[in-house]
């Protein structure tokens, strides 16, 4: 893509243990600028543990890890300011308005009042939500909420945004519109790190990493993974990996 050579995420031998349980076992991978990187695995495979470390919310047991150029051991506060995060479960405050949410998160991410004003106008224009500025989030349809939550998660123009199952339960048209936003974001060189259970959604990613029992068991483009496992779609790849049929 662009001439940036430093990866946005650089993980070497990352391990996290809870007592005798190894949640992440020597993970090593890189994610490049502007890449859409899919992080897959069954429930309990260790995805959430890894994402929490990458977001600066939890310390690893060992390993060398940088996110957006900052070290997770010593610079977790800088990491938090330079990433965006959105999940299906928690995204926006429902009992305040669209604009109040923008102001709140803009403030948390350290934007000035002027920046917040400018970017809010831009954001609402792009989503066609100018007339909903003073609407309570609770009264917005789910699809709009998710698009808005995503746009707010990148309002401070971070190097990377983490999306935790962003489109669970939404209708297929809204889901496609959401993915349009993701592509647009990646084009502007913000890296998108997605976890999802939708295997068809995995096909949208530039590259996929599949976790099983704390380890990375496969990492490649969707096309090459399908070739390697002789599978029609990613669902088949995922099931073959989980059942260790290779």
């Amino acid at each position: 893509m662009a001439a940036h050579n430093t990866p946005v995420i650089d993980v070497k031998e990352m391990t996290k243990t809870f007592g005798s349980f190894v949640a992440n076992d020597r993970l090593t991978f890189r994610v490049e600028r502007g890449e859409i990187f899919g992080f897959l695995g069954a429930n309990g495979a260790g995805k959430t543990t890894a994402v929490r470390i990458l977001c600066g919310l939890s310390a690893p047991t060992s390993g060398q890890i940088t996110v957006a150029g900052y070290d997770v051991w010593t610079q977790s506060e800088q990491i938090k300011r330079n990433i965006g995060y959105m999940s299906q479960r928690f995204s926006l405050y429902e009992d305040i308005t669209v604009y109040e949410n923008i102001r709140l998160f803009g403030g948390i991410y350290g934007l000035s009042r002027r920046q917040i004003r400018e970017r809010a106008g831009e954001l609402l224009g792009r989503l066609g939500l100018e007339n909903q500025r003073d609407t309570l989030i609770a009264s917005l349809p789910l699809g709009w909420r998710q698009k808005l939550a995503f746009s707010i998660a990148i309002i401070h123009r971070p190097g990377i945004v983490f999306l935790d199952e962003p489109t669970g339960g939404v209708d297929p048209i809204t889901r496609r519109q959401f993915w349009d936003l993701i592509y647009e974001t990646a084009q502007s060189l913000i890296t998108v790190f997605v976890t999802t259970h939708y295997m068809d959604e995995a096909e949208y990613c530039d590259r996929l990493c599949v976790m099983d029992e704390g380890r990375i068991v496969a990492m490649d483009t969707p096309y090459r993974l399908k070739q390697q496992y002789g599978a029609q779609d990613m669902n088949e790849v995922f099931i073959k990996i989980a059942r260790k049929e290779i």
Partner: protein, 312 residues
Amino acid sequence: MEFLEVIHVSRSFGPVNALLEISFTVHRGELFGLIGPDGAGKTTLFRIVASLLLPDEGKVLLKGHDVAKDYKQVRRIIGYMPGRFSLYHDLTVEENLSFYATVFGTSLKESAAYVHRVYSPLIPFRKRLAGKLSGGMKQKLALSCALIHRPEFLVLDEPTTGVDAVSRKEFWEMLEELRDMGITILISTPYMDEAGLCDRVALIDKGKLLQTGSPSEIVRTFPAKLYVIRGENLYSLLGRLRKSPEVKYAFMFGREIHLVFRREPDDPARWLGPLTGTVDGTFSIDPLEPGMEDCFVELMGKKEPVDGEENV
């Protein structure tokens, strides 16, 4: 007499029309799927079918019984698994199951043959608290409890939501076996790819039924001709396609663009050429057999403009 008849059912909550004039039938022994996104009305409909909520208008007949009036008979016939995990976290696996058995005046022993397929993987964990089970195991326990009174009819509200692909596959395999035992199953799901696992489906969105039929019927009646465009840098191409007057709509589907024409060109490949002009790479355009999601997108588009833009 049909096994289940849903007849012109409407239900609103204040100003929100959760269900509008819903009608469909489920045949005996069928695995029937209600497919739709969050907020479509699936849970409301299932609560009405399970006699837990009254419709504003219309009625539901189960083996000829009006579920609103004959709810006592109906509840013996139905095994209902609600969407939220509704078992007792502080009871063990076995205690939960005996509790449900007692409520229905039966026992685990009497129903053993019936629940065996679903319950047997849980036997090694029978002394474990239900709250300490993994997602997949909780799901199996909830299904075991729904089966404990040997119902003829299972009503399962989004049992596979948030569950990983492997556990989902196992769950569907279990449902097929239950169907083959003669149990009629009504299941809801937001995952379009699960529609293909049902004998028949009803597609629902915003309280309205879009279409009912077998998965192959629904795909066969796709009213337009669908094309797929493959190549690199598809996202750059997408914007141009949407601006073209010939295009009705175009969406990314994974690593492909799915497209329906408003006016179909004589030679789609020749038509595509100039549009891809300055975009790097080579592109192909071919007719494509639609999938369930394509059908859903097309059916939703009948009700509102679909152009990839916001429609307020």
